[in-house]
């Protein structure tokens, strides 16, 4: 039986038509699931001619199909589910940054403003290299911009029940950094603080390459609320580092958000207390733990972030997660021929 002729391939960039070689490595390209052969095309054609039309009950409604033709849904661009993020990481890699904090502590704002830096070009030596979540990022950032029509910058609340991530791929020279920032509702972290198992509430915790613990500056600025917030943060660090949570050695950032709302006295107070949080994180097994203060989206015009670069540099710093290998290249005695008796 002769080899069916290849007349097309759905795989992007496949050279089968030019060179006869299959991108997937099939020795017989006709066996590739992406290939369109003369035989398969002929089967489809004969089905139509013989009247074997698809079941009318399964056919789309005519009116519906006509109305669909007027609007082309491009799809995509939303935040990623875990399985979508997994597929994307197969293609680009993924450095997962778990952004943890209570409700309205500024988690989504931070992610939105990080994205927003790249709307103006490169930032801190890094350039934007792509995202499959542009719609999600833009939607989160849009409320902060003048052309949103809002009188004050605002970021939509995270509504998703699921674990979701947004990917922000960066590059610096030939180096690529595929950041995947979590976008998780604050209520889930409340559950952890209340003693719920991190493994089931935030299953992504175990995959985190970096941990950001956001502490709401607006709460810290209040004499009545700051102690409660601090206690909550301690519980959060404790809960996230339980079994099934953030892995040992995970670099951690303790970040005071909305720092523009915190006066000097309260900043000083926080700086002293944050050292305790840092110590706690290290005792709980976190990796190198640093303290930052950020105002990702200050209330006062022009609403440009304050003190974002140090945190950004921390996010983009090279991973130290690698095995120690000793190279024994010292000349110890005779380094040429040796013999031993067996």
């Amino acid at each position: 039986m002769s080899e069916p002729q290849i007349i097309g391939c759905e795989a992007d960039g496949c050279p089968v038509l030019e060179s006869g070689r299959c991108l997937e490595g099939f020795e017989r390209p006709a066996e590739c699931p992406h290939a369109t052969t003369s035989a398969s095309q002929g089967e489809q054609k004969s089905e139509v001619e013989s009247g074997h039309a698809p079941d009318p009950e399964e056919s789309p409604d005519v009116e519906e199909s006509e109305s669909n033709q007027s609007a082309i849904e491009l799809g995509g661009g939303e935040s990623l589910t875990l399985s979508q993020a997994d597929r994307l990481s197969n293609r680009y890699g993924g450095r997962v940054v778990l952004v943890a904090g209570e409700f309205q502590s500024g988690k989504t704002t931070l992610v939105a403003e990080l994205y927003g830096r790249f709307l103006k070009g490169s930032y801190s030596g890094w350039s934007f290299a792509g995202s499959d979540c542009l719609r999600a990022l833009d939607g989160r950032y849009h409320g902060t911009r003048e052309n949103s029509g809002l009188t004050h910058p605002d970021v939509p609340r995270t509504e998703d029940e699921e674990m979701r991530l947004v990917d922000l791929r960066l590059q610096q020279g030939g180096k690529r950094l595929p950041l995947m920032l979590t976008d998780i509702r604050g209520e889930l972290f409340d559950g952890i603080v209340e003693g719920g198992p991190v493994a089931s509430l935030v299953p992504l915790a175990t995959r985190a390459d970096q941990l950001v613990v956001l502490i709401d500056g607006k709460q810290i600025a209040s004499d009545f609320k700051r102690s409660v917030t601090l206690a909550w943060s301690k519980q959060l660090i404790g809960g996230l580092t339980e079994a099934g949570g953030v892995g040992a050695g995970t670099p951690t950032a303790i970040v005071l958000s909305k720092a523009d709302l915190v006066d000097d006295e309260h900043s000083q107070w926080f700086a002293e207390e944050a050292i305790g949080l840092q110590r706690l994180a290290l005792e709980r097994g976190c990796g190198p733990t640093e303290i930052f203060t950020v105002a990702a989206r200050p209330d006062t015009s022009p609403h440009e972030p304050i003190d974002l670069p140090p945190l950004f540099n921390w996010l983009t710093s090279e991973s130290t997660d690698k095995a120690e290998i000793r190279v024994n290249d010292k000349i110890e005695g005779r380094s040429f021929w040796r013999w031993s008796a067996k």
Partner: protein, 355 residues
């Protein structure tokens, strides 16, 4: 360092290209990387390039085929980064588990990639290759010989025609003695036979060692030009070539670094660009570098580019060609020792590719 190192770290390496924990998938990926590791011969440079983030279609298809052999639903498209990590694991696994030429070639190629300023997708790959190059260089020069005691044979004592009791030695006794002597001779012959190969290997290693040691203390090079009259760059290039000629066993001995360092002396730490190394090599007419064009042979490729494109008035065209085609920066600076060692390694790679 052994295969256990790969087993212990495989999950962590795959973590960088997956989000969801999936033990079954991990098993498939591990099995495929092990199969690929055993199938590296003939594609070592291409797989090392993939391990450094520059995967070509052929390697994409090759890795895809190995994965499909285990999971026939696997599709390579859209999994480029994962496949690069798998390529790196295959290279690393081969380097730690073997002393065969393909493992040596991989280790040398990794060293070249570092020199060219490329970044490995697995952070441990460069250090592992450096470590193993030293270990393999030692191991291939070690000779095992049978212990002296294994040459000991027992032969029966010589009998007299008539023993002390006045009994004559019978034919049966004589035959027994002959049999024992025969067994002893057979054993001795086997031991001598098995000593010949180690003796030859020992001789080869000794000759190489003596050649290199005399060479490094000599005041003149092979053309009888005093080393002191050569520039640092000239010594670096000529030294690498002459050491390569004296390297009878691949890969290099662990002391290669020290030998070149001794030759270069105080100049060893001075820096020159890749372009300068290649220009000096062209001036010295190192024919063994000719015909190469690969990012993992940066000095040889620059040498080839100079021969093709450089003129007295134009130093830029060949550099632009190299940057555009191979993505290697000819202006990247290296110490004289680093450049000399790189040239020495490229000559080893060229030799291994030709074998």
């Amino acid at each position: 360092m052994s295969e256990a190192f790969v087993d212990e770290n495989f999950g962590r390496w795959m973590r960088s290209v997956t989000i969801v924990d999936d033990e079954e998938r991990l098993g498939v990926l591990k099995a495929a990387s092990e199969a690929a590791e055993k199938d590296l011969v003939g594609r070592e440079l291409a797989v090392v390039m993939a391990a450094y983030g520059r995967m070509d279609e052929a390697i994409l298809g090759w890795l895809g085929a190995h994965l499909r052999a285990i999971d026939d639903s696997f599709v390579a498209e859209g999994k480029e980064e994962m496949l690069k990590v798998l390529a790196a694991v295959a290279v690393l696994g081969r380097i730690v588990s073997s002393e065969e030429p393909d493992a040596t070639l991989c280790a040398l190629a990794v060293s070249s990639a570092d020199f060219s300023g490329m970044d490995a997708v697995i952070a441990e790959l460069p250090q592992t290759a450096r470590s193993r190059l030293v270990e393999i260089g030692r191991a291939v020069r070690e000779t095992q010989v049978p212990a002296a005691s294994s040459y000991l044979v027992k032969v029966p004592p010589q009998r007299k025609e008539v023993n002390e009791a006045g009994e004559a030695t019978g034919i049966g006794q004589a035959l027994t003695d002959i049999y024992s002597v025969g067994q002893a001779i057979k054993k001795l012959a086997t031991m001598v036979d098995s000593s010949v190969r180690p003796a030859l290997a020992r001789q080869l290693a000794l000759e190489e060692e003596i050649e290199m040691l005399w060479w490094v203390i000599s005041d003149v090079d092979e053309t009888n030009v005093p080393w002191s009259e050569r520039s640092g760059l000239g010594r670096a290039v000529a030294g690498a070539v002459e050491l390569a000629v004296r390297t009878r066993i691949l890969p290099e001995p662990p002391s290669a670094h020290a030998l070149l360092d001794k030759l270069l002396g105080k100049e060893a730490a001075k820096e020159r660009s890749l372009a300068e190394f290649a220009t000096e090599a062209a001036a010295q007419k190192i024919n063994s570098l000719a015909g190469q064009e690969h990012a993992l042979l940066p000095i040889a490729s620059a040498y080839e580019a100079i021969n093709k494109f450089a003129t007295d008035d134009d130093e830029n065209t060949w550099q632009n060609a190299m940057q555009n085609q191979l993505k290697v920066d000819p202006q990247l600076k290296h110490s004289l020792l680093g450049g000399s060692l790189q040239l020495y390694r490229e000559l080893q790679i060229v030799r291994l590719l030709g074998e």
